[in-house]
Symmetry: none
Subunit: 422 residues, 2 copies
């Protein structure tokens, strides 16, 4: 059982957009046990699109198409689908209602052109897209699945998770030769190669048997490394056993850095911990400029543990809003252990929360001082019992630094709550 992914759009071909959709779908198809054997990108051009449709339909069982479903003239994917399947359009009332509701919500008149978004191939199943106007279109014909989705990643992901993947799972349940199981261990604060050397000889994990296969992949992204364990076996039980074996070995050598066993972010993981423990938190940010607070509030229901926070970018603000001692700023510099500690304690007391965290550092590109390179950050932590600060050095890139510093601040709290040594 093989799949193909077809991306449609000039903007992808000329590199104005990087094709993250193919990566997402490739990953998901693989874990479904229907690996993609090929991905293709073609222009918004009828001849090329129809040619790819023909080849795909000849060679593969599952054909996923993204892009070219917008209401504007340059989007022709749907037209090509109708042509390819020699079918007609039908007006889908549910979709039309949804499209209208989107414009109603925005309180703007709906341009007539958007009615076309509710026209779907007559032989298709409509997959809901709450995130946008173009629905997913699934055609299950001749033992083959043909699915078209918008190119906007958020919309494509929504339709995949809520419409396409459940459909594929149901359709192919029990019919696939191999069972593929994956588990991801999510680490933070340690580099890929260090992690690899800690885990050691992964040939112990990656050992290919005749009837099964176990793989360990290192997926780094700015001071987070996801360890993806993949087991391919004949039975779910065997696959599960392989995964558990691998996880044990990894946790033994790198457990401290593993904050989750899924794709959840550190802010989601920490949020759950704070809720469970009925703890409140506040943050005082300098170099991270609001990103710690923004990450915390990315989580629905974060108002249970976060009431407020301060961005004290300038020295004066650290004094006025957090009660940092100006003499200490003069003496040790704003990027210092002392100031980080005073910021953390200050925000905790002023906000009246159980926990206060702070970050003061040099995001770059400018601002480096003697013994204080770009990428240096002091992260402060304060609760009723303990107050401390810890320093880290990240990259030379401003945005990567802000992100890594904010994530580490949250990780420091996680380790403290679990009394893992910092």
């Amino acid at each position: 059982m093989k799949a193909v992914i077809i991306s449609i759009g000039d903007e992808v071909l000329i590199g104005q957009v990087t094709n993250t959709n193919a990566a997402f779908l490739g990953r998901e198809l693989f874990s479904l046990g229907i690996p993609a054997a090929r991905t293709v990108t073609v222009a918004d051009n009828e001849k090329d699109i129809l040619k790819e449709f023909r080849n795909a339909y000849r060679d593969f069982e599952v054909i996923l198409v993204t892009g070219g479903l917008g209401p504007t003239h340059d989007d022709i994917t749907k037209k090509c689908v109708v042509k390819f399947f020699k079918t007609e359009y039908r007006l889908d009332d549910k979709v039309l209602k949804h499209v209208k509701s989107i414009f109603a919500r925005r309180r703007v008149p709906m341009p007539l052109i958007n009615i076309s978004q509710a026209l779907v191939p007559d032989n298709s199943i409509v997959l809901e897209n709450i995130a946008g106007t173009a629905p997913g279109i699934l055609i299950d014909k001749g033992g083959k699945i043909f699915c078209v989705m918008p190119g906007v990643p958020g919309e494509m992901k929504y339709i995949s998770k809520n419409g396409l993947f459940p459909y594929l799972k149901k359709k192919y349940a029990g019919k696939l030769k191999n069972v593929i199981r994956q588990k991801t261990l999510h680490t933070i604060g340690i580099g890929e190669s260090l992690l690899a050397s800690r885990i050691g000889d992964i040939s112990k994990l990656v050992n290919k048997g005749k009837d099964y296969e176990l793989k360990l992949a290192f997926l780094p992204s700015n001071y987070e490394v996801r360890l993806r364990i993949t087991a391919i076996a004949k039975s779910p039980a065997k696959a599960a056993a392989l995964i558990n074996g691998a996880e044990k070995i990894i946790r033994k050598s790198a457990g401290k850095y593993i904050y989750g066993d899924d794709e959840r972010s550190i802010e989601a993981t920490l949020g759950t911990m704070l809720k469970k423990r009925r703890l409140t938190i506040s943050a005082a940010e300098s170099c991270t400029g609001g990103l710690i607070l923004s990450k915390l509030t990315d989580i629905p229901g974060s108002s249970d543990y976060l009431m407020d926070g301060i961005v004290s970018y300038a020295d004066k603000a650290k004094v006025r809003l957090l009660g940092v001692n100006p003499r200490d700023i003069k003496k040790y510099g704003a990027v210092s252990k002392t100031v980080a500690i005073q910021m953390a304690k200050g925000i905790r007391k002023r906000s009246g929360t159980n926990i206060g965290i702070s970050a003061t550092g040099i995001a770059g590109p400018g601002g480096a001082r003697k013994n204080k390179p770009v990428g240096l950050v002091w992260i402060g932590y304060s609760d009723k019992k303990v107050t401390f600060a810890k320093d880290f050095i990240f990259t030379k890139d401003r945005l990567r630094n802000k992100d890594a510093m904010a994530k580490m601040a949250l990780e420091v709290v996680r380790r403290q709550l679990l009394s893992i040594e910092q």
Copy 2:
């Protein structure tokens, strides 16, 4: 003259790696005037690779291949090239010396397997790769260019910039029929279809003449839409004239929404404006939870105009930190024009900045009230002369809402500074 990009590697197909190489090469080929009409990714599998080589050689003049050049057994691209061109290997001394030097520098003995990196197809031109062990391989045969490069982005880019592109420029100098020029107009706060209907009959712009072509592409991303104008003409002068003509028409109908004529973000655009005008800004955030401040501080040198800011997530915090009247919160609700105005005025006065902005809304998924749907936000603006608040309604998705709300807050300031009606 058309090109194709072939990426080889299982890790790309199963989405462990996002294919940024295709985006880079697509961009560069386009600006060279040799646009890629197709990109394909296939597995490290001889049959599939040879099939792609055949199709590519039949349909395209320039064939670029990346990946599968490592020294390990699973990398078979070079073997396929030799097979495809029915040629032999030769040992390239220069490459061998380079490979040896790399290991010498690392002070580790060279694994014998790496000698294979110096074996190149007999009919090929070697393109130097100082960044790694696998050289680029270029075959110029039958009026077609066939080039193979490593999949590691850094190495691929080095070989492209220093070997491949110069070769292509030299070979096709003057021979390319068309000049391609592009310009991107960056809009915010208006949907794709509304924008399209405002710009109106784009056939006026997209008018394909015999000897030239003018295209307008809509590239949406969460309430920003980039308008990409592409002109393909016989001369640079003609192309430039076409672009200017198109830009004039677009600006006439949608100028209000265009905040930049490049790929710069709204925070970068606003930052430059604030610096030029020597203005300072501060933000009071509720629903955006710090994202406005984080975006502002994403810009190097933002400390020139941003000193501090407040995240007042809870009602109490709005009262304590910004002086919002608790009776008004009771009467109108925290998500209201009155509260947004008091937040903006409050942060401006307490921070002593020229401008204060605020955002109070419902990011979702929960929190909707009667007449206050998820996605609703009140954005407050306050300076010495003017104070007002404006409401917007975005999506049902929390993260997209936070991002769109934060961007709109910055856009409201941009429009105010340019006295564009809100």
